[in-house]
């Protein structure tokens, strides 16, 4: 398989254990090859995106982003990405959070390019479903 047929998946979450679990979950997915990158904060993720063009692949990359993080929250990251119209057109972005607060739900409406909201805790099936649905 050429790199172009791999799907790039990025997880941005400050919780190390969740990052580990998420990685294990993706290992159980066998439909296609996955290029997985995880970051403990949004600034590190932006550094990576600035240095790597992840939109080369035929399959659109998927970003899973936590809201409550140090230095830059998930919403602040959305503010940055909002201006990168080309990037958000070619990627799918999901918010992953344990927050059920009203303010976070209202924030969601401000970013129409977000594909969905995943409430923690979640099972691997819900992730697999997303991975299968998007191509």
């Amino acid at each position: 398989m050429t790199p172009e047929t791999k799907r790039t998946i990025i997880l941005i979450d400050d919780n190390a254990i969740l990052r580990t679990i998420f990685g294990h979950m993706l290992q159980g997915f066998t439909d296609y090859e996955i290029d997985f990158h995880s970051f403990k904060n949004a600034l590190d993720a932006l550094d990576f995106l600035d240095n790597n063009d992840i939109c080369q692949s035929l399959m659109p990359p998927i970003l899973f982003v936590d809201i409550n993080m140090p230095f830059m929250t998930g919403w602040e990251l959305m503010d940055v990405l909002e201006n990168r119209t080309d990037f958000i057109k070619r990627t799918k972005i999901f918010i992953v959070s344990s927050s059920t607060s009203k303010s976070d739900q209202e924030q969601l409406a401000n970013y129409p390019f977000i594909s969905g909201f995943i409430l923690k805790p979640f099972g691997k099936e819900s992730i697999y479903e997303i991975l299968k649905k998007i191509d």
Binding site: N15, I21, P70, F71, S98, K120, P121
Partner: protein, 631 residues
């Protein structure tokens, strides 16, 4: 006819010569035949070359209008022409620019069938001149009467009108014919006539001027007021002058000013305000009871002392300055709030309005001072102010508590829900996986998650302890002692980083829970030593100052600094970290903020990236807190 020596013959008869009468005889054409010595004296008769006719020698003047008489107009001529004696004719003659007056009797004589005149005359100059003066006086009197608006009557002791003078006959109640020689009682109703008659008789009896005022009952003079003045006429027995004057206007204006005075008195003495008329020197001229009620001083006391003697020293200058402006006419009036010294020794807050009264020459005469006691409302305002401070404090306290509750909700959502959801997800995976290695890995992660959760709960427990700080022990804490103890914990780090710490405790002690003070200093020092810049040795300054509301502790470093515009709102939050590359839990600032705020204090920060941060801790000490609340 013969003329003797000097053509004029003098009567030589002794008796004729000694008479006071001038005697002259003439012919029928007026040629003087004889005259006595008196005639010569009176008329300055001298012979002239041309004539000895009487009417040619002397020019006569009329007594009525001082006009020059032609010879035909003289009585001499008329006696001859009318053939009739002329008696008591007064003629004038000019002598030295003055008139001399003579009364002539001209008689016709017939002697030797010849007509002639026998003229006798006496000098009446004195009489005529006196008469002239009297006429002048009468004329002046008439002019005087004409200038009066009064009616003047001459009245007898029985009230009979004998004479009248008036400028305007329309003013008379009756036509002169109707009232002259009639009595008051016939002309006027008894309610006027009787007292008027009594007044006339009293005036005569007492020989004094008397007067009475009355209001007319007559339809034509309805509601008009008159004054009746009675004066005895001294030269005429039992006669009085009765003068009637229209005094309606005077009465009305008197009534008006009486009413105004009454109104002013009512306003002045019954006012709800304290009022005084104060001299320009500051002494009370007149004051009302309310002023005494407000200030406690009697009028007597206020009239012998200046207002400045009973004004609060801090309020005198302003008051005096404003009064001077008033007197100079620069302002019309002013109102100021000032404190009067009550007689009992306390101060009374008053609202004082002062205006100046000027005379016609625009010179200030005195001041009208109106005083309102506002001590009650001042007191209420003070109470309201205190209550506002109190409620503001309560509000701040409540806002702090609400914010803390919100934070706890967030902590629950993020810091407890997060690890819990991890645990659930790990268990789900362990349940379904066949892979032993994954199972072992996840069991390990479960352990870590469990430890994290325990630790988080422990941290939260510490904060919950703060929130129920009933058991806190306040004690006298010495900043230097506390600092020395805290410094011990960081000796290794201070040496390693070659840090210098300078201290300056302007406030040496504070009444505060010692464990909190240690915690605050420890956390701030810890941060200052941890987030240091690589290129410079850490320099930390710890100071205390006394500020208005309590002691201020500042901890200043020259470290990395914090991006405040971005992080300030989260700086003192639970488990927030702001420095990439440092493994920290982000609990310290949150903890000490809770400690400080729970005791009413505040923590704040100023910082600039890469040049350092300064943390400010404002302590609300118990000693300060209590009196503030009692306000």
């Amino acid at each position: 006819m013969h003329l003797q020596r000097d053509s004029l013959s003098v009567l030589s008869d002794q008796t004729v010569n000694t008479r006071l009468e001038g005697l002259i005889t003439t012919t029928d054409d007026g040629t003087i035949l004889l005259f006595n010595k008196r005639a010569q004296e009176l008329l300055d008769l001298e012979s002239t070359a041309t004539t000895n006719k009487l009417h040619d020698l002397i020019t006569f003047y009329s007594a009525d209008d001082l006009s020059e008489l032609s010879p035909t107009e003289t009585p001499f001529f008329s006696a001859l022409s009318k053939n009739q004696n002329q008696n008591e004719i007064i003629l004038g003659r000019k002598k030295d620019q003055e008139f001399r007056w003579y009364q002539f009797n001209v008689h016709l004589t017939i002697e030797d069938n010849k007509k002639g005149l026998s003229i006798s005359f006496i000098d009446v100059s004195k009489l005529v001149n006196k008469n002239r003066v009297l006429e002048d006086k009468q004329h002046q009197l008439q002019l005087l009467v004409a200038s009066l608006n009064d009616l003047v009557f001459e009245v007898t002791d029985t009230g009979v009108f004998k004479n009248y003078w008036t400028n305007n006959p329309d003013l008379l109640f009756y036509t002169p014919e109707e009232f002259l020689n009639k009595s008051l009682t016939e002309l006027f109703p008894p309610d006027l006539a009787v007292p008027a008659l009594q007044l006339i008789q009293s005036s005569l009896k007492l020989d004094r001027e008397l007067k009475m005022d009355f209001q007319s009952n007559l339809k034509e003079h309805k509601d008009k007021w008159y004054r009746l003045q009675i004066k005895p006429i001294h030269r005429a027995l039992n006669r009085v002058a009765l003068v009637i004057s229209d005094i309606t206007k005077q009465v009305e204006s008197n009534e008006k000013s009486k009413f105004n005075e009454h109104k002013f008195n009512q306003a002045f003495y019954l006012s709800g305000l304290g009022i005084s008329l104060t001299s320009l020197e500051g002494y009370c001229i007149e004051s009302n009871n309310m002023l005494t009620k407000i200030l406690g001083y009697s009028h007597e006391e206020m009239s012998t002392t200046k207002f400045t003697d009973r004004t609060h020293p801090d309020d005198i200058d302003k008051d005096v300055e404003l009064r001077e402006k008033l007197v100079r006419g620069e302002i019309e009036a002013f109102t100021l709030q000032k404190r009067y010294l009550h007689k009992l020794g306390h101060f009374v807050w008053c609202s004082v309005t002062v205006a100046a009264v000027f005379d016609n020459a625009n010179t200030a005469q005195f001041l009208i001072v109106q005083v309102q006691d506002i001590s009650e409302s001042k007191k209420n305002i003070e109470i309201l102010k205190r209550q506002k401070i109190e409620s503001d404090l309560v509000k701040i306290d409540l806002e702090t508590k609400i914010r803390q509750l919100e934070e706890f909700a967030n902590i629950l959502a993020h810091d407890l829900k997060g690890p819990l959801s991890n645990i659930q997800m790990l268990i789900d995976e362990i349940k379904v996986t066949d892979d032993e290695k994954i199972k072992a890995d996840f069991m390990n992660l479960l352990d870590i998650s469990s430890d994290n959760l325990t630790e988080t709960l422990h941290d939260l427990g510490g904060i919950l302890d703060i929130k129920s700080n009933n058991s806190l022990i306040y004690e006298q804490c010495n900043f230097l002692d506390v600092f020395k103890k805290v410094q011990q914990q960081f000796l290794e780090e201070i040496q390693q980083k070659n840090a210098t710490i300078s201290i300056e405790f302007n406030v040496k002690d504070i009444y505060y829970p010692k464990i909190y003070l240690e915690s605050i200093l420890s956390n701030l020092l810890s941060n200052a030593l941890r987030f240091t810049a690589k290129d410079r040795a850490p320099r930390i300054e710890i100071h205390t100052h006394l500020e208005q509301e309590g002691t201020l502790l500042t901890v200043k470093d020259n470290g990395l600094g914090i991006n405040l515009p971005k992080y300030k709102s989260e700086l003192f939050m639970f488990k927030k970290v702001f420095h990439r590359g440092f493994e920290t839990k982000g609990v310290g600032l949150f903890l000490i903020r809770y400690q400080i705020e729970s005791l009413g204090g505040k923590i704040d920060v100023q910082s600039k990236i890469d040049s350092g941060s300064t943390f400010y801790v404002k302590f609300l000490e118990k000693a300060y807190k209590d009196p503030l609340i009692q306000l």
